[in-house]
């Protein structure tokens, strides 16, 4: 081949390569770039997977596998709403990149764990463990261990199982010691040296905890004992007091199919809506006096009572055998105004942050159903194998989750 022909051939090839390169760059730049404020994840409890969803067009974007035992999993999000931190029952802590849809890092930090939280500044992940009992703190970027709080108490300093772990303003974490009957407040401003304040003698077997949406009141539920333990974080010096003396399993020892999650309490309008333990009703409580105002009869034993973000509705799901049903309470009228049947074994519900949609998981029908909360019309139905918890990135901006 003569040199001049070779030269002729060389000329067009470089522009072709350049064009290919530019085209690829454009694809990468346009295809992957997206906002993260409308994303979320659905836990697939059977196969240890996450389904990444988006609420603008109400679609599934993809799946992420390899997250271990997610039979009692929960999720928090990084403050930029890009990463999900997944707490597995098996002690696994996974950092998942929602944009690349892959596991960024995964560690198994304990033998049996129950949940976690992210600090107010987003720098620390805390995990509450059953085995070994206590709380462990990790760097949110690297998942490197930062500190351990063994939660030792009583004679011999046995480690207690820890439940009801939440974040609180001031880079604090609050949690309850199931075996010791204590609430602990950990200040993690210097996360390597958390400063602990102990509140002993709060009652037997705290089984779960919550913090009010403003981050002020921490409440622990007591298993096998009536009443709840309340700590006012604006006045920790006042100690823990007992509220709602009649709340709990009670002396009648009702058959309880599932202890209600305390994160299944709704603040709506001027009231708290609290699932009654073992009863087919929700309690309406005045949070200023911590007294019951009324109770609303329901279809079954409530598990979660969730407030629509504007507080006009509370949506309730139920324990077995009534777990194919969701009821909607109108907060203004204090009565049930709608009953829906999303599918068998409704495990969880999540509202979009401004409340126009609610996402509902129906485990035994392998689907997630999305409703319009104004019309109760079905907006979408997504196939997800054995879905349980649904978590939207808007949680990144909230206190106490």
């Amino acid at each position: 081949m003569p040199a001049d022909r070779l030269l002729q051939r060389r000329v067009p090839r470089w522009p072709a390569a350049t064009l290919l390169c530019l085209w690829s760059l454009l694809c990468m730049a346009s295809g992957s770039l997206r906002g993260t404020g409308d994303l979320g994840v659905v836990i697939g409890r059977a196969d240890g997977s996450l389904t990444v969803i988006e609420t603008t067009h109400r679609t599934a974007l993809g799946r992420i596998d390899g997250l271990g035992d997610l039979s009692h999993a929960s999720v928090v999000f990084s403050r930029d709403e890009r990463y999900a931190y997944v707490f597995g029952r098996d002690g696994g802590l996974s950092k998942v990149d929602l944009l690349r849809r892959r596991v960024e890092k995964r560690i198994v930090q304990a033998g049996n764990s129950i949940g976690g939280a992210i600090s107010q500044d987003g720098r620390v992940i805390a995990v509450s463990n059953y085995e070994p009992g206590g709380v462990r703190l990790f760097d949110a970027a690297s998942l490197d261990p930062v500190a351990e709080i063994p939660a030792r108490s009583g004679e011999g300093g046995k480690r207690s199982r820890v439940v009801g772990l939440v974040d609180a303003p001031g880079d604090r974490f609050v949690f309850s010691l199931f075996d010791a009957g204590e609430i602990w407040l950990a200040e993690a401003g210097d996360p390597g040296q958390p400063v602990i304040t102990r509140f002993p003698g709060i009652g037997r077997q705290p089984y779960d905890g919550l913090i009010t949406p403003d981050g002020r009141y921490y409440i622990a539920g007591l298993f096998g004992e009536d009443g709840l333990a309340l700590l006012d974080l604006w006045h920790p010096e006042a100690g823990v007091r007992r509220i709602l003396d009649h709340y709990g399993r009670g002396e009648q020892a009702l058959p309880v199919y599932k202890m209600p999650h305390l994160e299944g309490w709704a603040r709506a309008g001027d009231y708290l809506f609290i699932p009654a333990v073992g009863h087919h009703s929700v309690l309406v409580v005045d949070p200023h006096e911590w007294k019951e105002v009324t109770r609303i009869a329901l279809h079954g034993q409530p598990v979660f009572a969730m407030a629509r973000p504007d507080g006009r509705q509370v949506w309730v799901n139920f324990a077995f055998p009534d777990n194919d049903t969701v009821q909607v309470i109108d907060v203004d009228r204090l009565e049930v105004v709608r009953e829906l049947k999303p599918g068998r074994a409704v495990l969880h519900m999540e509202f979009t942050p401004r409340g126009e949609q609610v996402w509902v998981s129906a485990r035994d029908d392998d689907r997630v159903v999305v409703y319009d909360t104004a019309t109760f019309g079905e907006l979408a139905r997504l196939p997800v194998p054995k879905p349980s918890g649904i978590f939207l990135t808007a949680r990144a901006h909230r206190i106490g989750l």
Copy 2:
């Protein structure tokens, strides 16, 4: 050059181009991909620019120019937290891509406009205009016009200037007619055919409006008249009633350096904190009775009273000549606990969504100062020419902004 030498030279060039291409792809993929939950914008009022900021490392990411007259600008965000919609005084409506940091689209939709809102479902942008008076609705994706609400009232059907436009649950917008003394409620579920409910005779010259964070109560301030107009959106059939009879300019005709923005009302703890008009104080109001509980003496005439998201603090800035100062009220003690001097002409403040930081603009010192709200320590200081409003993407998830 002989052909064999040309061939030799060709071989290594293709891998080099490929490597360059791959490297570029990697750069694009890693450098541009990011979450959008920690982003925000600062309005540069002198030159019509936006500075894009992020609150994780507290830096400026870049500038966007060409946004027209931003001397009284406000911003809302798309539900995915990727796009900012900027409402300029000159009637400009700009859609800005925070990831690419460029103006996606810009229209001039009126001669003089005062603010805007985004519908609950994120599909509609509403703008309130002075000239011509009324509200215009636009498609949030394309900025194509969707509907016009001319806000005609009285004899001759003159168009009124519109103020105090907010979104409300149920894809509604609420706004006030300055010239007509009316509140209008527009249901925009079918945005091309908004359904209007009028509330006439609410008082003279409503100059601004707000909606409570739950989206229930709409309140209009009345210029030159005492009291405020309240509409309960849970009970629009009950009509508008007058509250806080002593709120306003009053009979003493005090010199008012700047009418307080009604969006400068804070809900914190059990109370509303409301800048007093013309007085050096903030009113503390019980929102159940709409009665004044007490008032707190301050350094100057308050402009904005902003609640830290957990409600434990209210931060206040002031009108000229006291506008170099910010005071912090402790909500539990109902007293000023701190005074800061961020710079000359403090125009706006914005909290991160979980409240650990507050960003403050000091226009005449051309800087934005970031404080730790727990320690009041300065976390960062960013040079921004003539900064005014600061808006973080977390607003995308809130009602009534």
